[in-house]
Symmetry: C2
Subunit: 375 residues, 2 copies
């Protein structure tokens, strides 16, 4: 975990100026480099997701090993998760679309953990009924992303079945207070539910092996803030007879206002999947950009897309076409594209996306119950 004067990156809070090179060093992971991209491309028929092409997937653990494993005929399962503390926002969706791409390319199972227990245990203000309620609402958003309903299984912690809990109990025997103190900064005032939680979050790493009765590695696409959980898990994997989990870390999506990642705690900076088009447009139109003080100045000097949240949104999710993205960068730099139309264009795309997403949510409502795994 990183907690210094410039930024905080823990499983419960991500804020401040994020220096990804520093995060790689602090978390002890490896940078995602071109060799990996090329190795991956060989397995996907040359297709590479924009988040990889654009360097948004910046770090990994053992992804090179996993690619070799796949090359030699091995399979794997995907594992990611969501802490249901409120409505879903677009910052949540971005890595899920990347996860869907991985599922599509490799035709593999996805185990999606909903940590309603952790959200309840960590936040004094929540009742358990609240976070359980969010769990079901969030699953609607996740399914609307378009995961293969036959191969996507939700583990809602509060509803997990006996096989899952047996595994978590077995893991919990191998992790001591010292370990969770060192990894998560827990102390004497930490509640015992939270102390136990790392076992619950480690369990999906080995759960596919239990379900299928043979060793299956998992690939975890997630924020690097969640990495401490996999570190604890990697330490015990071999001793328990499982593969170490493999991880891919993607950058956090910035909010619309200046500074920090998109976060539910700052609604003006965040577009929720439940927002109306009107509300979303308003938020986008108030976004922090790399524009100049006046139009005249911007025409003369050009804008700075490198610090612009609107450009960040295009880059991460609202412009799939690399050429068009490059043109937008150049036009901004050259003073040919002003912030007004650029924001309006983004707002239109966001509104269109929200309409499609909200309609898909209605379509998937019937799939929720059957996609929850309770064994």
């Amino acid at each position: 975990m990183v907690q210094d004067e410039k930024s905080i990156v823990t499983p419960w809070e991500v804020s401040g100026d994020l220096d990804y090179a520093k995060l790689i060093k602090k978390f002890g992971t490896k940078p995602f480099d071109e060799t990996l991209t090329n190795k991956l491309a060989k397995l996907t028929g040359g297709d590479i997701h924009p988040m990889i092409r654009r360097g948004l997937v910046f770090s990994h653990r053992d992804f090179d090993w996993l690619l070799s494993h796949i090359e030699s005929g091995g399979d794997f399962a995907l594992y990611t998760g969501r802490g249901p503390s409120g409505d879903t926002h677009l910052g949540h969706l971005v890595p899920w679309f990347f996860t869907k791409w991985l599922q599509d390319k490799f035709d593999v199972e996805l185990y999606f953990q909903i940590t309603d227990d952790e959200k309840f245990l960590y936040n004094p203000q929540y009742t358990y009924d609240q976070t359980i309620g969010y769990a079901y609402k969030n699953i609607e958003d996740i399914l609307a992303v378009g995961f293969d309903p036959e191969k996507t299984k939700f583990i809602i912690d509060s509803q997990a079945g006996p096989k899952f809990r047996k595994l978590a109990t077995e893991i919990s025997k191998r992790i001591t207070f010292s370990t969770v103190k060192a990894i998560f900064g827990y102390n004497e005032s930490t509640n015992i539910g939270l102390l136990y939680h790392p076992a619950i979050q480690a369990a999906p790493c080995f759960y596919p092996s239990i379900i299928h009765g043979r060793k299956i590695p998992v690939l975890i696409p997630a924020g690097i803030d969640q990495d401490p959980y996999w570190r604890a898990t990697r330490d015990i994997a071999k001793k328990m007879g499982y593969y170490k989990p493999v991880a891919l870390h993607s950058e956090f999506i910035p909010g619309l206002e200046k500074g920090g990642k998109m976060s539910s705690s700052n609604p003006n900076s965040t577009v929720f999947t439940t927002d109306t088009g009107k509300v979303a447009s308003k938020k986008v139109n108030r976004a922090f950009t790399g524009g100049r003080a006046t139009i005249e100045e911007q025409k003369r000097l050009g804008g700075d897309p490198g610090i612009c949240n609107v450009f960040s949104w295009y880059r991460s999710s609202f412009e799939e076409d690399d050429t068009a993205l490059q043109k937008r960068w150049d036009d901004c730099k050259n003073g040919d594209l002003m912030c007004g139309p650029c924001k309006m264009d983004l707002a239109d795309r966001v509104v269109l996306f929200l309409e499609m997403h909200q309609s898909k949510k209605e379509d998937v409502a019937d799939l929720i119950e059957s996609s929850i795994i309770r064994v």
Copy 2:
């Protein structure tokens, strides 16, 4: 918990010379006195279980309050448990027969927790499959005691349902590491499964209220070694909107050899429900008694039933008739009853009991599945 030079009384170990007056003081409970017996008798039509008549139920928490609650028309549920670490022995059965008496007298539900998780988490040598296996074997023994199958529900921790686990999670938010450190002596090397376990063991105190949707107090007949769990629970009960659990503590049943309570770890001192009559007889015939060095001496000076394990067994379970028990005491004291025939008589009763119990176990095998609660 008590851990001094003379004795150890913790949830995981009871050994040494047990001084019950001291245990009451150390655990901060109240002695079970005649006023209570009389108050209880009013509610049972004058019937009082031998374990109360004979002072084997020596301590309580709030039992006086519970009796008043019952007097004014309130109901309650019974809650007790078993840590499935091996075969059941007669020392386990004694308090269960007392619990059955309470169930019969008050016609109430019994929630019987099987802590297969705790036994696994505490003992390095066990696999979880082992303790889960013992759980089912032990339930056979428990049902053979004759509990009302309609009103007896087993909570096997590894199989507990979502309502139970939700409650445990809610409890776990209110207990910190400091608390379990102070109450159970846990430290930095304790595994996180064990740190969490007090929430699991507290949950049955409030579970009947969840099941029935109204506040129902529980009465816990158990060894005083388990009291730390209820202390932690009592601290949070009111804040969570439940009644504090009420407890009755009974003496530990001694083994056949000299010193300590009957324990699976000393098979020669212990009669298991799986023992054949021949094996059980042999064990009883080697029991430690209050006899003299020679028959001549014993006839002259009399024996000492006060230190005799054989007499203890009659007192706790194998002689229900107070007059017959008193006669056995007097005959021993007067040198009229020698150890040989007294042991042989006990062995006969033990063998008869085992035969009946083993046959009842066959009868109840079909009831196991339906008596496990999984909600």
